[in-house]
């Protein structure tokens, strides 16, 4: 498949769409919506094609395109996907059309709105496929801009401070990361992820850093740790990891439904992706040095966010904290994998299990969380903006389909076996337990609290006597049903037959684990 630049096509399809919609500024709203959906579907088909043509047996990067871009800086246009990138590309391609369809009723500046959504999609595709830091960072930052405007212009009552906080907070993290990478560049002269990973494996990265950057008498161990901390900060804000998470609940709560879906479904995965693509291959030594604090951070993230979710009265804020909780399991898996185990083959298997779990969890969380926010969006449309835990009651009586389907999504989020969420969590726990038993043992508390608050939602919103105020609340329309069934079907499929995804990602995982051993 060297003939067709599929990855470029993938990234540029939404970009072209964004430009077309922004430049033409159509007045015909229906046309704009259809055009946006059209671009979304083309992206989905392209991603599907990549999925189909991807060779799961190969561990190498596939669909590689490499052209010199700024030769003096060593910047290449270098894109490609492995199992990890492919999974997230697919997730982006699935969530974006959902977000577009959910936004169908938006009437304000439709053309700009959809242009921004497509722009965001392009940024995400770029982030998940770029293999050169310069190129990657452009997309990483680029995706912030449309998100900022989407929140600022179409968000809830507190949108303006929320958007600003979101932008500045993540920007601050990114600046730290950028500085760290400039340091790396100065030391090694390359931005290439693959090359940098090789250097890290041979130990040249650390020695180069020490040779080229002798800062303030930092020792051989400290200097790479400082660089590591810079990158870590940028990624930790994005995921987010407690205590770098405070932008998230407000942002998710204030953003319009479609943006929240994209934020939680895909953008939160950018951080985890960064951990897997940058931190784990480049700084395994540094992660090992502070492994225990890192594991504590993950455990605290898991427990605190679940408990904080239980304290929320606003459904969107609750789901926001739940999102932090779910990604906490991903980080738990990643940190545990960094543990030094030498050449122990058994533990290598456990690491592979944990990483597979992390990959699956990313995909599953994207699907489930986006669906849940979509449901809350539907609820808001019907209630005129109310979405408090105590604003409803007994909705099952008048909207059984709504409650049944949302119930499935909630149970998927809870990690019920048979649905997608369980497989990822099981593999993470299976892998983490032998590597860090105490961390796994403490983290199950998060699973318990998650169950408590999800069942509280079911109890307060769906069960109990019908709140007479909503006796005319309509059930899901046929279109809405189709829209929610689309992600619910894969929830069942992945829950019952996870091989569909695992077979594609396992070779990548195994290779990552092998490379970690050095």
């Amino acid at each position: 498949m060297n003939g067709i630049p599929l990855i470029t096509a993938l990234t540029f399809t939404p970009l072209i769409g964004a430009v077309v919609l922004a430049a033409m500024n159509f007045q015909n709203k229906e046309l704009v919506r259809r055009l946006a959906l059209g671009f979304g579907i083309v992206s989905l088909l392209t991603a599907g094609l990549v999925w189909k043509l991807f060779d799961p047996a190969s561990v190498e990067l596939q669909f590689v395109e490499r052209h010199a871009w700024i030769p003096t800086l060593g910047v290449d246009y270098f894109v490609g996907v492995d199992g990890l990138g492919l999974l997230l590309v697919l997730l982006t391609a699935i969530v974006t059309p959902m977000a577009i369809l959910v936004s169908w009723k938006i009437e304000k500046n439709v053309s700009i709105y959809f242009s921004l959504v497509l722009f965001l999609q392009a940024g995400l595709f770029g982030t998940f496929t770029a293999m050169n830091f310069f190129h990657w960072f452009i997309f990483w930052e680029l995706s912030l801009v449309p998100a900022f405007f989407l929140i600022k212009l179409w968000g809830g009552p507190q949108r303006s401070p929320a958007a600003t906080q979101f932008f500045i907070y993540t920007m601050a993290g990114s600046v730290a990361m950028l500085l760290a990478f400039l340091g790396i560049y100065l030391a090694t002269g390359t931005f290439d992820f693959i090359r940098l990973a090789e250097l890290a494996r041979t130990g040249e990265l650390a020695s180069a850093l020490n040779a080229k950057l002798g800062w303030y008498g930092l020792t051989r161990e400290q200097l790479p740790l400082v660089i590591f901390a810079g990158v870590f900060l940028g990624l930790a804000v994005k995921v987010p990891l407690i205590p770098f998470h405070t932008w998230l609940p407000t942002t998710y709560a204030e953003a319009p439904t479609a943006t929240t879906m994209l934020l939680t479904g895909v953008m939160s995965k950018m951080g985890v992706y960064g951990f897997l693509r940058l931190l784990l291959p480049l700084f395994p030594e540094q992660m090992r040095m502070i492994l225990t604090p890192l594991l504590w951070l993950a455990v605290i993230t898991i427990i605190f966010s679940a408990s904080a979710a239980f304290a929320q009265k606003d459904l969107k804020r609750m789901l926001a904290y739940s999102s932090i909780n779910h990604l906490g399991y991903c980080l738990l898996g990643i940190f545990a994998v960094a543990k030094f185990t030498g050449n122990d083959a058994v533990l290598a298997t456990e690491k592979a299990a944990a990483l597979n779990g992390v990959f699956l969890q990313m995909f599953n969380h994207g699907l489930t969380a986006a669906t849940l926010f979509m449901f809350v969006g539907f609820l808001e449309q019907r209630s005129g903006g109310l979405r408090g835990l105590n604003d409803f009651g007994g909705l099952r009586k008048i909207a059984p389909v709504f409650c049944g389907l949302m119930g499935i999504a909630l149970f998927s989020s809870l990690g019920l076996p048979g649905l997608n969420g369980f497989v990822g969590e099981f593999l993470i726990f299976k892998g983490v337990f032998p590597l860090a038993p105490w961390a796994a043992g403490l983290s199950v508390i998060g699973l318990l609290v998650t169950a408590i608050f999800i069942l509280t939602v079911l109890q307060r919103v769906f069960n109990g006597p019908l709140n007479e105020k909503w006796s005319n609340l309509p059930d899901l329309t046929l279109t809405e049903r189709a829209l929610v069934v689309a992600p619910i079907v894969p929830m069942f499929v992945l829950g019952l037959w996870p091989r569909l995804v695992l077979d594609v990602i396992t070779p990548t995982v195994v290779r990552m684990v092998e490379q970690l051993r050095f």
Partner: protein
């Protein structure tokens, strides 16, 4: 591999398919949904019989366990990275399959009548079928993971069915409580499972010598040395925590009485006969972990003089304590279903006790007999409730034996089976097995005494219940109310919250016998509650031998061995004492009015009060665990708002302050100085520029004046 081994998966999958299809069907497709559910259950039952027959044929052979494993997923290279699931067919599976499908089928049929007027009839059968599928999945699983998956699905359906009348806040709360309390146990199970997985590298129970329950694997994973037993003990205890949640063992029993908010067929099927027994079944399934055979694991060359401690000690004590604890509470309850619920907890305690002291066969025998007579009792209670217009308070009943003869007769059989009335009832034999094993337990005699005391209590509270419900005079205060309401045509808002078929039921006031669709299953179960005892008597211990894969022998003489006979006599006496005491209190002086204090309450009001309030366990949890959880959530939220976010705000305010300072310096220090300087310069420039205003006359004037001044200067002699 025979056909049935290969296709055992059909047994759980058929009800699940039925559930899936009827989930898609609209509410009005009642007949479709019920037919599908019952049809799939019939087929599953027939297949279970095939499986049972298959194990009978295999009985005594070496290959008593046949398995079918398949690859579910692959997460790493090599064999260690393959996660397999599978199913197993052995006597344990087969006997559970037959029990679950048979009792399930009867309860499905019974539900046709019981739920006939419910508006969510279709959903009810959807959930029931899903439950049956999941439960059968637990039974056939040959992998702890598959068992766990089914186990959780069982928990889900239990949640859905307890909360079936979701408009009742109490039902919604009970459903949530059930799910969460069992989930606490499940997390223990999850940890035990991943620990076991990391130790043995497999979750398959049996896999031709490499399964995690097989001696060779266990011996490799848990070497026989000073500390080799600790991980195994840890795993076993974690798994046992899971079974405690599901099987309502103290202190995780609190959800089960509340679960009685569900429709009565649900209580019969899930919360008496099958699901709650799943915990007991799991202990039986992984008994090799609970009581490892160290001498086999250590190999022939190592002498195991004193086997290391194992989990059965904990299982035994928890079981014994639960058995007595719940029986004590049952004595003082007034809700017909709650009495049975506490009785179920107590009997589950007996099963655990039996497993702990006597092994798989002892516990399983009681599980099977209990499933039949407890399902019978619950369905009888359902029939009573149905006849009394949804009133569940035994103080409002009385004298029902005349109006509900079939229900009375079958209920009496169930009551005698549960109490353990000698010789003719199954409960006698299975309970006696447990007591016998407890008597011979080497560790302590305590559980035996607890068991005997529990048996006494059981006979007592069941007699009390039967006296209240079926004897004495009718104290139908509530029914009169319902009757007068119906006459006036007024229905209060409260009764709308009641179960839907109160509304539709013909309210003629008098209690009435239930329709045949409900009574026939009762009669069938009553028959089994009697005959099942005879498959496990000391004379002919067929059941026990069948489970261990040996042919049973008929030995009439065993009955007269003093050791066995003495215990038989002892338990007969204990039961007799319990029943006589019950009759003494509640039959000799029949309960007069509903509001009257209980006979026991008059004797010891303080003790009775504590028992009626269930030892305040719920209140203690409310005051500690629940309150802590709410407080903790509040703390997390507070930390989030004020500490984490506070730090961020602080930084942002610092930045703002810094920029304000910057601006201040800019505007008032730098700018002001600069501006002032500029202003002066420009003022100076302005002054100077006046000089250059381009008017030649001025220039000439200046030149003239300057010339004059110069001349004067020179004249004064300044030019020297």
């Amino acid at each position: 591999m025979t056909w049935i081994v290969k296709n055992l998966w059909l047994i759980p999958v058929l009800p699940m398919l039925a559930a899936g299809l009827s989930a898609l069907a609209p509410q009005r497709c009642r007949r479709f949904s019920a037919t599908l559910a019952i049809g799939s259950m019939v087929v599953s039952f027939l297949l279970s019989l095939c499986a049972f027959a298959h194990t009978l044929k295999q009985c005594g052979h070496e290959a008593a366990k046949e398995v079918f494993n398949f690859e579910w997923l692959r997460f790493a290279a090599g064999d260690a990275g393959i996660l397999k699931l599978g199913w197993v067919i052995d006597p344990l599976t087969a006997v559970m399959l037959v029990m679950v499908t048979f009792v399930g089928l009867l309860i499905f049929i019974y539900s046709l009548g019981y739920m006939a007027h419910d508006e969510n009839f279709t959903r009810f059968f959807t959930f029931l079928s899903l439950f049956a599928g999941a439960m059968l999945g637990v039974v056939i699983a040959n992998s702890l993971l598959l068992l766990f998956i089914s186990w959780e699905l069982v928990g889900l359906t239990s949640y859905l069915l307890i909360g079936f009348w979701y408009h009742k806040p109490s039902a919604a709360a009970a459903a949530k409580k059930a799910f969460i309390v069992t989930r606490i146990g499940d997390l223990g199970l999850l940890l035990g499972m991943v620990w076991l997985y990391s130790k043995t590298g497999t979750l398959l129970f049996y896999d031709n010598g490499t399964g995690c329950l097989e001696t060779s694997t266990l011996a490799k994973a848990f070497p026989f040395d000073d500390f080799g037993f600790i991980p195994l003990l840890g795993i076993a205890l974690l798994i046992f925590i899971g079974t405690m949640g599901k099987s309502g063992q103290f202190p995780l029993h609190v959800w089960l009485p509340d679960a009685m908010e569900g429709p009565t067929p649900v209580s019969a099927l899930i919360h008496a006969a099958t699901m709650v027994a799943a915990g007991v079944f799991l202990v039986a399934r992984v008994f090799a972990l609970m009581k490892p055979d160290w001498s086999a694991m250590a190999g022939p060359h190592t002498l195991v003089s004193l086997p290391p401690p194992d989990a059965t000690v904990v299982i035994t004590w928890i079981g014994a304590i639960t058995a007595v604890f719940a029986a004590l509470i049952a004595v003082a309850q007034n809700d017909i279903k709650r009495i049975l619920a506490y009785s179920t907890i107590s009997q589950l305690g007996y099963m655990m006790l039996g497993l702990g002291v006597g092994g798989v066969a002892v516990g399983m025998f009681h599980l099977i007999t209990h499933a039949f007579f407890k399902a019978l009792l619950f369905m009888g209670a359902g029939s009573v409730i149905h006849g009394c217009h949804e009133d569940q308070d035994i103080r409002h009943m009385g004298g029902l034996r005349k109006s509900m003869p079939v229900t009375f007769a079958t209920y009496a059989v169930g009551m005698m089976a549960l109490s353990g009335v000698p010789i003719f009832f199954s409960g006698f034999w299975s309970k006696d097995e447990i007591l016998h094993a407890a008597h011979g337990w080497s560790v302590s005699r305590g559980p035996f005494y607890l068991g005997v005391f529990g048996a006494l209590l059981t006979a007592f509270y069941m007699t009390r219940q039967v006296c209240y419900v079926f004897f004495g005079n009718a104290r139908n205060s509530r029914r009169k109310e319902a009757h007068s309401n119906a006459e006036c045509g007024v229905r209060s808002a409260e009764s709308k919250l009641e179960t839907p078929h109160v509304v539709s039921y013909k309210e003629n006031g008098a209690p009435h016998e239930s329709p045949a669709v409900m009574t026939v299953p009762l009669v069938v179960l009553a028959a089994f509650a009697i005959v099942l005892g005879f498959i496990g008597t000391p004379v002919w211990p067929w059941f026990q031998e069948y489970l261990s894969g040996q042919p049973a022998t008929f030995d009439f003489g065993k009955l007269f061995q003093w050791e066995i006979l003495s215990l038989l006599l002892l338990s007969s006496v204990v039961v007799a004492v319990g029943i006589v005491a019950g009759l003494w209190f509640y039959w000799l002086t029949p309960v007069g009015k509903a509001a009257e204090a209980d006979a026991l309450e008059r004797v010891r009001p303080d003790v009775f009060g504590v028992l009626r309030e269930k030892f305040f366990v719920d209140e203690i949890y409310e005051a500690t665990v629940v309150r802590f959880n709410v407080w903790w959530a509040w703390v997390c939220d507070w930390l989030d708002r004020w500490v984490w976010d506070g730090a961020v705000r602080l930084i942002s305010h610092l930045v703002l302050g810094l920029s304000w300072l910057n601006r201040f310096i800019d505007e008032f220090v730098v700018n002001l100085g600069f501006d002032e300087g500029c202003r002066r310069i420009s003022r100076g420039g302005g002054l100077l520029s006046r000089l250059q205003n381009g008017q030649v006359q001025n220039y000439l004037r200046v030149i003239g004046v300057a010339l004059v001044a110069l001349v004067l200067f020179l004249i004064w002699g300044g030019g020297k």
